[in-house]
Symmetry: C2
Subunit: 310 residues, 2 copies
Amino acid sequence: MTEFELIRRLIPTLPTSSIVEVGAGDDCAVLQSGNPNSEWLFKTDAVVENVHFTSETPPEKVGRKALARCLSDIAAMAGYPTVALVTLGLPEGFRSDWVDRCYEGINGLARQHGVAIAGGETTRSLAGIFISITLLGTLPNGRRLLRSKACVGDGIFVTGELGGSIQAKHLDFEPRLTEASWLADHYSIHALMDISDGLAGDLGQILLASNVGAELLATSIPISRVAKLRAREATGAKPALLAALTDGEDFELLFTVSSSQAVSLVDSWKQRFPLLKLSCVGRITALPGLRLRDANGTRTFQTHGFTHFA
Amino acid sequence: MTEFELIRRLIPTLPTSSIVEVGAGDDCAVLQSGNPNSEWLFKTDAVVENVHFTSETPPEKVGRKALARCLSDIAAMAGYPTVALVTLGLPEGFRSDWVDRCYEGINGLARQHGVAIAGGETTRSLAGIFISITLLGTLPNGRRLLRSKACVGDGIFVTGELGGSIQAKHLDFEPRLTEASWLADHYSIHALMDISDGLAGDLGQILLASNVGAELLATSIPISRVAKLRAREATGAKPALLAALTDGEDFELLFTVSSSQAVSLVDSWKQRFPLLKLSCVGRITALPGLRLRDANGTRTFQTHGFTHFA
């Protein structure tokens, strides 16, 4: 059973209540706050030794990554991060300087984004370290950039470059918080999420939730240098385009916007964020499924990216 | 390094902000909600296979326990639980019926307390299962039953019976939510917490935070039947009184109240909660440290209970 299948089966069983505006299944839950101007975003995520990092990874980067993943989910709702709790699972004989350095990474990134760390929990772990972080953020009242909001005809956009994150930026990526709120403030963004399990798989989530299909243009997909290099030089490596479509941990933004706003968006983006690439990679279609168009024509593409339990 | 030492060292390094009314170091964090009548409680906790449960434990009870521990922390602030997120770490080859049954336990207890499950995360774990739960609750504005509020002369009370939880109730305990809000509504409770690491260790937290001492009366400490039985029958088992003072996972309430309210409290408690024992086990003193008085006189008692990294 894949992670997606498991989650799809569990969601309908969960108890809900009137305080929950958006429950399980999107990047964050949305909760009524009691404040008329804003709602709460609520998100949890974990990193596990030998899955998301190794004993060789500098502890500062492990802590930074644990928080950055949650920040990326707040960005995926165009929200503002506020306060976090940290749960640390530590094996017997753990090194206290590892913990200190891990917290330096968490605290540094938290300060950079004005996030308070309001506490947490330490517990024993029998094998390897895990860090589970929960983040609360705020969302301007009524803002709903959900996976289910893509419309037929929308342009599909991604920030940055895709693929090969595990060889490069997965420990240092910048959560796209500023970019996401700018997008929400200036454009009618329909669907928005962050790419954590590969463009194809995550776009598949949008297609499924919005009940639409998509056509991607192969030559428009921004392939990272490291994915290209690896495809050329590493034996048995994925072709670069496949890496860009299916590698995990890109943590870039994926969104759809009415095609009438696409040209204006590309122009203003260049002025506002000159150092970060923005690519229109395709469009939303009424025909279901994901199709990839290249010089040889159009073929369907399976929408599963990286899955934790494959 | 013990868990307490680790936490004591980390807390001063954590970034904070004006939204955080009470940060790390109490049972829950307290956050401004934007609602003038209430604040948010924010708490995270985790259970780990072979630490808090085994592969023999029925999965429903594992899920129930994971949530019940968080509920007990909301009780320890006399708050009301509202909405939770669940992070599940699963090893390769996990059984999906185990996950279904675990969620039955979580969902059942959540429904019983009106708690919504607004989502969560699944991730791979390399060895054994872990479940990390984060819970938001509400607190009537200004209610502050903190560990730091004990006053010299206060009576020290505990609910239920203590010791031997791991042989008996650790999978089935009832979080004392109703009792805690009743106490806060009707009495001037000073300090309040739940007993998770043993009466002596947890009372030690109150003494440290409140800068006071305490004297416990050995004959007043409510020792559980299972702790007595085990002390009599199991070779090498702790003496029953020591078990009641130092065993983990009791999840009963520990609180202090002005001695002038003590008699009235004991009377009304019996009427309101006839099935749950309430015991006055000692008093708060100006003299620092924890002392235990029995027929042979008074001796000091080390205030460390169960520690995860001992």
